[in-house]
Symmetry: C2
Subunit: 392 residues, 2 copies
């Protein structure tokens, strides 16, 4: 086990009707908030009205900024920063999924950052301060409700970059599984693929002596796989959504990744797909992850045997570990397909034209400064291209 | 899954040599601290000197209060409260195990409490404020390094009572597994029994749809069982102690107990043993827990089949679930014995004389106000007496 430093102070208020508490919960923290959200779905579902009612009842003023899109845009972040400064906003309330929360995080630090907040993305530079953030989660997926991370896209340059800082961990997050009942069915698959990937990025490691986090990762993935199938066939199943909602937070608050080298190559490779083709992050991950596994597993085959046996329930002769691993990967692909996900790039509308460009951007080779991806196995642009081709 | 509210803001700094960071870590939070510890072991091991050196290097002043005993005493807590007030202490640094940390928590809230801090114990009354607490853990056991709980004993009345409040969760805790190498061997067993019990108290439940926390609990118990045996036979095995140290925090910061009714009867029954006989908490738990299992399992046999199969690795015919459960309980007892723990009350020096008195105190029947113990199965004083007798 490696040395680690874990800090996850976000309070999680979980369960039925919890969104009606938002006003009372925020009262000790802010007199004026920015209500940040996406398209019209929270208005259609009635959530918007509930939030407004709760804020008003608690005497909390608010400014509003809707319009966050999937793969949230820098231009709206700039607008939010100006709005917060102009209106003396003290806290940002993000009502939505990962895109809305990530946009809120960018605004929260942008208010204090001296320069264009985009300069921070893709770096590990520190920040001095950020507005506090609260969230009401409308889809379990990105894990942003308790994570330090934010990912923003810059339209002009087709770049999608991450930034992380513990100061961006939300103060509190409300997770009510009932809010997930009305999600479009394909969003379930995208969300689950993202959550599972958050565990995979931590699980696949060369670090030795990681019993506890191995077990926690395996329990989280198995919970996601089991309950994704249930909810996919019964979109109003509270119990299944509750497991997915809780697992999504656990998958990404980093507890289960402590003390082990993490990977993150699949996320980096996927960001290029989303940046150029604007596909859903989870859709890209479901395509890339099994390809990545196929490409890297021989570097530490025992790690992948453990995955196949402990997570995917593969049985067989350990004298043929390749067969066990390949069966595990095959079952993962079958699972993705079962919850409506495509398993090839062409299935999500990506042809071969830009594979090389994306491989070179993902590794920064395109910018003359190649940084290989991945903690489990270092991937240079040629490796990334091979993986893209494996799943074309 | 039940609604829940989870909040665990303690920062965990984990790994080799981390105790040398204590001065720098505390610098932003306090100019003067109370250094609180137990007997002489931290002086013998050199930890005391390292802490002093680090505090001095960071320019932090300190007052000192040593002498915390296992089953920490109210009288020393009173002394600590007076000292903190007199010396204008801003933070309490607990260097030790659960007893020292629990004592620190009592002092931390006692400084602000208007009255005798003992009045809070055994209640769910709120508190206004508490001094911040930092810890350097010297034994993985109580989980107090990230929990809201504290247990204190009042000598005069032979009472041992708990209190919990999120304001008592430490600001930060340092966990360096190397500090555990010099523990007396029996302390390993006591600590492991306590940690496993913290998971059991959450795991055994009648709440349905708890896939994620079931899995997290099972992973944590399996990690503890596996690594306890390794460390018991090789007391300087860093990797095994690292698993135990991390698992101890996870076992009790309450993440793995969220959304499920918890039990806590074994802890309540054990507190009576410690209060009267001053036995180690873990020693009492190792005796009582299998007896409790035997007494209650028929109330929800499937929960115990799951335990026997998923945790203890029992195989066999599911058409004879009693046999599966009893084999699971038997393996648990064997495991306790393997790490040097007694499995009967007589083995820890407790005869039948006071069993009834303890049963009546545990359930408050002795105070004319009986409150049955346990969330899994309600236990009245007669039930508690039966369990004590089962393990005499």
């Amino acid at each position: 086990m490696l040395n680690f430093d874990f800090y996850s102070p976000t309070r999680i208020i979980f369960g039925k009707d919890t969104e009606t508490q938002i006003g009372e919960l925020l009262k000790p923290h802010a007199k004026k908030v920015l209500l940040h959200y996406g398209g019209g779905s929270i208005k259609k579902s009635g959530l918007y009205d509930k939030v407004i009612t709760s804020l008003k009842a608690a005497g909390i003023e608010f400014a509003e900024l809707g319009g966050v899109k999937p793969n949230p845009r820098l231009s709206l972040v700039h607008e939010g920063i100006d709005l917060c400064k102009r209106e003396n906003v003290e806290l940002i309330l993000a009502v939505g999924g990962g895109s809305v929360i990530d946009s809120a995080k960018a605004i929260a630090m942008g208010v204090y950052y001296n320069g264009d907040v985009w300069e921070l993305y893709g770096t590990a530079n520190p920040i001095e301060n950020a507005l506090p953030i609260a969230t009401i989660l409308t889809i379990p997926a990105a894990g942003s409700e308790a994570s330090p991370g934010t990912v923003i896209s810059k339209e002009e340059t087709e770049q999608k970059l991450p930034y992380g800082n513990n100061k961006l961990r939300p103060l509190l997050s409300i997770v009510n599984p009932e809010l997930f009942f009305t999600l479009p069915k394909e969003q379930l698959g995208y969300g689950v693929a993202d959550m599972i990937s958050h565990v995979f990025e931590r699980y696949f490691t060369n670090t030795t002596y990681t019993d506890l986090t191995d077990g926690l990762c395996e329990a989280t993935i198995k919970t996601l796989i089991k309950n994704a199938s249930i909810a996919y066939n019964d979109m109003e199943n509270y119990d299944a959504w509750a497991e997915l909602g809780f697992a999504g937070t656990v998958a990404h608050n980093d507890l289960i990744g402590m003390g082990r080298e993490q990977d993150w190559a699949c996320h980096d490779m996927e960001h290029e797909l989303s940046a150029i083709y604007d596909v859903a992050h989870g859709a890209g991950l479901a395509v890339l992850t099994p390809g990545w596994m196929q490409y890297v597993y021989k570097d530490n085959i025992n790690m992948f045997v453990q995955f196949a046996v402990n997570v995917m329930g593969v049985e067989g002769s350990f004298r043929d570990p390749d067969a066990i691993v390949l069966e595990g990967i095959s079952r993962l692909r079958d699972f993705y397909a079962k919850i409506g996900l495509e398993t090839t790039l062409s299935g999500i509308g990506i042809n071969e034209e830009k594979l090389e460009v994306m491989a070179k951007k993902a590794t920064k080779e395109a910018f003359g400064n190649e940084r290989p991806l991945g903690g489990f196995k270092k991937l240079y642009w040629q490796d990334v291209l091979e993986i893209y081709k494996l799943v074309k």
